[in-house]
Symmetry: C2
Subunit: 288 residues, 2 copies
Amino acid sequence: VFDGPPRRATAQGAARAAAAMVRQSLARSRPGPVGGRIALVGAGPGTADLLTLRALRHLQEADVIFYDRLVDPAVLDFARRDAERVFVGKEVGASAWPQPRIDAVIVAAARRGKRVVRLKSGDPSIFGRAAEELAAARAAGIPVEIVPGITAASAAAAALGRPLTERGETGALVLATATRRPGEPAPDLAAQLRPGTTLAIYMGAQAAEATARRLVAADLPGTLEVEIVVAASIAAQSVRRTTLAALAEGRAGPVASPALILVRYPSAAAGRSMDTAEPACRAAVCAV
Amino acid sequence: VFDGPPRRATAQGAARAAAAMVRQSLARSRPGPVGGRIALVGAGPGTADLLTLRALRHLQEADVIFYDRLVDPAVLDFARRDAERVFVGKEVGASAWPQPRIDAVIVAAARRGKRVVRLKSGDPSIFGRAAEELAAARAAGIPVEIVPGITAASAAAAALGRPLTERGETGALVLATATRRPGEPAPDLAAQLRPGTTLAIYMGAQAAEATARRLVAADLPGTLEVEIVVAASIAAQSVRRTTLAALAEGRAGPVASPALILVRYPSAAAGRSMDTAEPACRAAVCAV
């Protein structure tokens, strides 16, 4: 059976060693035994009932599941009793597994013929580091697929009972992160948050206040509506409404993690109304 | 039983009449009988196995289901045999039901004590006209909720086997529509498509070429990679890769509907690589 790598301490340079291990193992590029394959599965925002049926099937077929910090235990309960569960996320106060190490262990398991599920919170395609894992699997000749999940912004909208786009007010939805990693260009949130736009900030808890300050400094109106959704979909879920100015000035209170922060900048031509006349119907089927 | 409104032809002004009907019925604001409620349920991109477990439960509990054009028959098969199914979408060559009429019929059904599912393709919160239906339900005192669905962009990423954000290349994802409705401000796609951004254009089939021309006219590089995903997740699914210039010049061929169009503008500081060293690990748990 696949036991996962041992969790013992080493000196610095572990990340580099892991990267080298991936390079070496990928260089061999033997195809895996029959049946070995990898699915990058979206676990959704947390609650188990927002899994898709396809994700459920993959969980039930998996021999080994590598899962993230934000995945709810109830999601893992859908796996077979004999499936191996390997935590590859971030412990409180500790760093995450380096990505190259995750790439290496999922490829190694698939090479041994395992049906591997790499279970990621939300949707693997949105801020999920899927590109690296896809590349590693393909370099090793292992079949790999993405199984979509409900992304945090959709879950936040459900928590709020309010959609992310509203006709006549917001015609574009921008998903971005508040933080950047070393070597990454900083996302220019102020440039993206234009009239007619809803900005959804992922992983926004820690940098919430600083992000709001940057937006206000970039001359965005302090009156913009801000919604903070913490732990969307799970028992700890909470929702708060404030303004950009209040958040920037620290008057909105601390923001717990995980949080999705929505900033809404309705179009200048706003005026959504139940009374707005629809374009005239030109066909029988739309008649009353 | 609730039979839905008759589908007979009338003169122009039907839309206005429907709007008036909603206003009148909402003005009464009686709470519905016990049990009457509305769920705006995301049907996902098409295929039934991308439904969430929560959506499945709502389908199985529903007394009446009002569904859209893009909802796959296999999704409706999850409903109870005795549940009523009412098509409120757009027929080929005909206009859609006016939104106020949909608002009116779902509220009317819930008032009669029905458990109503308003089944929308994708995620109700993203370009799903959910705001109007939520407002109508609330004005009538009827409990209403949003049940998230897999949005088209996520399904397109799964179809491509490629995520929507890629580390070091694209740190923001913009969801927008190519077309605007009467009275709507036109989305400024060129302003949203900045370096480091992936632009996902919903309902983009008909306006694909015109949209690409506008982006090129706004000085966006013609070399930008474009991916066209038609009918993501269902049997008719097809994927095409081209460039912004080729699409603008009509060299990418016709685009069938429904299509999601991705335009990727990687960051100038791009340089994603499997070799990129991770930040050094500072804790035992991330050691190799």
